[in-house]
Structures are given as structure tokens and as C-alpha cells.
């Protein structure tokens, strides 16, 4: 496996089922290559934290995996289905099993919050209006929002509420994988902490696999089972927090052991 060169630890479940397998991915815009021969595995039931400098290509990787950006070369398999060779039906079946939280929420602006959450349910499940309404309330509750938020329009929400509603919509069909692009950016620390807890709880209760792009050291410490660091279009380091702290790649070192993160660790200890 190409991962051989990378730092790895022995702490890995005995038979991890790979739900996302990315091999030799190349993505570029014009003459610039953003992702350059990247390999990545995501295992079932894990929360993967995906970090990297701003502009390193985290969102690009995520968007390529979910098929929103074209790739130059490489293969992407989700649930063992190669998305290039899949039939439209297979693709749709895969898409129904993942949920995506976009960086800016991407809520439908002309629908209310409730309609936003119900949108995928209406499309895929033919269930009664009453059940739709109840489930919208349930999803709102799961993401920690009051049911009356359901009547608001996205433009009437605060940043944190937008993220939560977007998560509720991403979870609408009870997906097996959720892709989260910077879910806690723009939230206050308490809100971000709640959000992390929420993701961890949902992961436990629903057995979710989570692919989370994040800059939040708290999230990385508390909820991520594994961290992958992207730089120069490749995965630099991949493993649990200990691997990150032991790494001697300059950026990784600075990020996880730098001043900001030491202050952060001190704060965590004293708390």
C-alpha cells in the first residue's frame, strides 16, 4: 500500500472496514495542481479530522470525493463503489447514504428551515406529512435547536444556527457518512464544544462515519479518532493525536505543538 511511507501507528482496529478509499488523486485548476497523488482511507465508525493550512485543498478534496469537482486522475471508492464506473442508480444509492455539511451551510434560501430538512426526505422517502413534520422537529432537537426555528428562513438565522440547521439537513436521511466542512468555524467556543459533542454523540448513536475538515484544535483533541494532515497536495501525516504530536514535519509540529496549541493545552489542563 502506498501508505507504507507515511507515519502510522499500531493503534488501529483489527479489521477496519474502509468506507472511503481514495487512491492517487490528482485535482487541479488550470495549470495549478491542488491535489497531487493523494491517498486516503476513511474507516467505518471513525471520526476523521482533516487538517491543513488554509488553501491547502481540504475543501477541494472533500468536494472531489463527493463528486462536485472533476479529478485529473486517481480512483475514489465509497462503500466499495468506484464512483467513476458506477451506474447512475448505484451513484444515487451511494449519495443517499452520505450527508454533506457545506462550509457556508448552503441552505436553500427560499425554503424555511423545516422545508430544508424535509427536502431530502420528501425526495427519497414517501412518508406522511405528519411524520415529516415530527421528524423535522426531531432533527432540530438532535442538533440542539428549538422547534420554532423550523419556521424561519435561512437569512434569519445566526451563523451557529445556520451550521446546526445545515447539519440537521445533512443528517436528514440518517446517512452513514457525513462530510463536514469546517463545522465549528464561526461558532463561539461553547457552541463549538456543543457541536463537537453533538457530532460525537451522533457518531455513537447512529454509528456514523465522519469526515471532518476542521481547524478547531478542541475538535481534534476531543472527537477525532484519527487525523490526516494535508500539505503540498498530499497527506503528510495520518494517525491519532499522538502521531501528530510525535511528528517532525515542520507544519505539523507548529500546528500541534506550536505556541497557540501549547497555550491551548494548558487551558485544557486547567479546565
Amino acid at each position: 500500500m502506498a501508505q507504507g511511507e507515511r507515519e502510522e501507528t499500531a493503534i488501529r482496529p483489527a479489521h477496519p472496514e474502509t468506507v472511503i478509499r481514495v487512491r492517487d488523486l490528482v485535482v487541479g485548476f488550470g495549470r495549478k495542481l491542488i491535489i497531487n497523488h493523494l491517498d486516503l482511507d476513511v474507516y467505518r465508525g471513525q471520526i476523521l479530522g482533516f487538517v491543513g493550512a488554509s488553501g491547502a485543498g481540504k475543501s477541494v478534496t472533500m468536494r472531489t470525493v463527493i463528486g462536485l469537482l472533476p479529478k485529473r486522475s486517481g480512483t475514489i471508492e465509497v462503500f466499495g463503489v468506484n464512483l467513476d464506473t458506477a451506474t447512475p442508480e448505484q451513484r444515487q444509492a451511494v449519495e443517499r447514504r452520505w450527508g454533506v455539511l457545506f462550509q457556508n451551510g448552503a441552505l436553500f434560501s427560499s425554503l424555511t428551515v423545516r422545508q430544508n430538512i424535509q427536502f431530502p426526505m420528501r425526495e427519497y422517502l414517501r412518508i406522511s406529512e405528519r411524520l415529516l413534520d415530527e421528524l423535522a422537529a426531531a432533527k432540530l432537537e438532535m442538533v440542539g435547536l428549538r422547534p420554532d426555528v423550523g419556521d424561519k428562513y435561512p437569512s434569519e438565522l445566526s451563523g451557529g444556527m445556520t451550521k446546526r440547521v445545515a447539519l440537521a439537513r445533512a443528517l436528514a436521511l440518517d446517512p452513514e457518512i457525513v462530510f463536514l466542512d469546517e463545522p465549528t468555524s464561526g461558532l463561539d467556543p461553547i457552541g463549538a464544544g456543543d457541536f463537537d459533542e453533538l457530532i460525537a454523540t451522533l457518531q455513537r448513536t447512529l454509528g456514523l462515519t465522519v469526515f471532518m475538515v476542521t481547524h478547531d484544535l478542541d475538535s481534534l483533541h476531543t472527537v477525532c479518532d484519527r487525523i490526516a494532515v494535508i500539505g503540498d497536495g498530499k497527506i503528510l501525516v495520518d494517525g491519532p493525536m499522538e502521531t501528530m504530536l510525535a511528528s517532525d514535519h515542520p507544519w505539523v509540529k507548529e500546528y500541534f505543538s506550536g505556541k497557540r496549541s501549547r497555550a491551548h493545552a494548558a487551558r485544557r489542563r486547567s479546565a
Partner: protein
Amino acid sequence: MSAVTGSASAQATLQGAMEGDRLRLTAAGAWTADYARTLEPQIDAQSQPPRRKTVTRVEIETSRIGQLDTFGAWLIERLMRAWQARGVTVEVTGLPENYRGLVAEMNQVKLETDDDVGRPRPLRDAFAAIGRAVYEISHYATGFLQMLGAVLVAMGRVIVRPQTFRLTSMVHHLENVGWRAVPIVLLITFLVGCIVAQQGIFQFRKFGAAVFVIDMVGVLVLRELGVLIVCIMVAGRSGSAYTAELGSMKMREEIDALRTMGFDPIEVLILPRILALIIAVPILTFLGSMAALYGGGLVAWLYGGIAPEVFLSRLKESISLDHFKVGMIKAPFMALVIGIVACVQGMETKGSAESLGQQTTASVVESIFLVIVLDGFFAIFFASIGM
């Protein structure tokens, strides 16, 4: 997942059996989103006591549930609530460890008390719609006047301090609304000129007065048609673009960002756009009128047999400079109206994509309407001063 994973069948069921005054409900299968549709009626059926039986306790046996997601968990919760509302004690047994959190979570869900909101009331809604429409008319009227005032003030400021004027921006808009509109404006006015001349010749021939078509085309095109057609084109082509541009900037808080940086959006965004229109529309009107006259002359020659020399000399006699002036004087005012309406509508855009669409439609409809109304006032005005 726990030991029950293997027993996940392709079906989701809920079966009830009475044991004395105790109802024992056995849930089995995959209680997931895909089966929610078949589960819901079963839940509702098991939410009431069997006929002529009294139930004092309910036990929901869940150990045979193979798979559970929020849909299934909510349905269990709904079942529990239905029984609890009847004052019956409900007990869930055998729930696999890993699903307990999910079911407990559902327990927290508060459904809204929906007494007033949502239910349609036709009469009330109709009155509300009328009221809202009346309010909106006055709202837009004041919005229009406010914008007009703000633009005039900004213009005054720019005249005092010309260096603050956004010349580059204006030239950019001038290119879009003026230069790039020339081909389509020429084409349409040319065709309209042809059609008017053809109809005129056809009708006037009956009186043996086909040559009067030249008077008609000349007066009509220079006074009314040229400017009106250009304004309708510009409202549809550039007014809508202005509304959409400003509206999407408003939606993405770009306008708020400008304000916080100390820029006046009127000065930065709106004044250059409106001035570009005020310059472009008279030029387009002139070009359009010429194209229409050309079209009229061509048809008069080819269809009516009126030689170009005759057409020109007749045109010279029949129209005075006044006709030309009337058309040209109106043009900048029409441009102002189109620009103001477009900008007001753009700035009125709310956060949603739908709202942007509505504002763009309103912008075009309203500006064409106002242009025609204004044209009527001009007609009265010019008649009374004898032009």
C-alpha cells in the same frame, strides 16, 4: 452493533398481543428510514387498545430490532407518547445498548403547539394579501422618492468634489448598457420602423394618400416609438441586470460590508449605474430612431414605391426639429426612472434566491409601467407648450 445484527430482516414490523390488561408490542426488523412508510400505519394501529379491551400497561419489546435510526426511534417515541397521553404506563424493554442514546434523544423532542400558525384561513389570508399589497405600493413609492433624493444628493456631492466620482465604474456600466445594447436596439427599432411603414402604406393607400406615411413614420418614430422601444429594451436588458447585481450583493452582505468601510453604496454602486443609463439611453434613442427611419424609408421604397429622394425631401418638410427634440428630451428622464426603479428593487432584495427573482421581475414590470405613464405626462406637457 450488538448481537442482534444478524437478525435484521428485510421487514419492519410491530405486533401486539394482550396478556391480561397488559399489551405486549413486539418490534422487529429494520426500523429505518426506508421502512418508515410501512411502519407508520402499524404504529398508529397499535396506539389504541384493541376493541373492548382495557389496557393499563404497555410493554414495547425491542430486542428483535435489527437496525434503528432516527426514523425508527422517533416512531417508538411516538408510540410511547400516544399511550402516555391515555395515562398508560409504557415500558421499553430489550433495547440494544447502542440504541439507548438515540431513543433517549427522541424523548427530548418537543413538537410545536400549532394552534394558530400554518392553518390556512382563506378569508383572513385574502384580506391580509390586500392589505399587504396596499402597504407595498406606498412602501415602494416612498422607496422610489427616497432613492431619487439620495441619488440627487450624491450627484450634488460629486459635482462639488468631482474626484470622488467613480468614473471607471461608470464607463464599465456604460459599455454594458450602452455599447453592447447597440446591435439589438438597432435591429429591433429597424424592424419596428419597417412594420409601421408597411402598415401605414397599406392603410393610407385606400385613401390614395400613401405618401403621408412619411409624415406618420417621421413623427411617430421621433416623438414616441424610438424612445419607448429603447426604454422597454433597456428596462428588460439593463434594469433587470442592475436589480440582480445589487440584489445578490445585498444577499451576500456585500453592501453592508461597503457601508462599514465608510463607503456610501449610493455613491459607489448606484450613481455610476444611473449616470451610465442617463448617458446611454439618449444615445440609443438617437440611434434607434435613425434605424427606424431607415427601415421605414426602405419599406416605403421597396413596398410603397416611394423613391428615397422623395422620402427624404418629404421628411424634411413634414418634421420639424421639435419632434426630434421631444424624443430626445424624454430619454434621460426615462433613463432615470428605469435606473431608480432597478436600484430600489435591488436594494429591497431579502435573503432568498426567490426574493431576488421577484425583485427582478418587479423591476422590469414597474419600470416599463412608469416609463409609459411618464410618457403620457410628457405628451400632455408638450401639447400644452405647443411642441
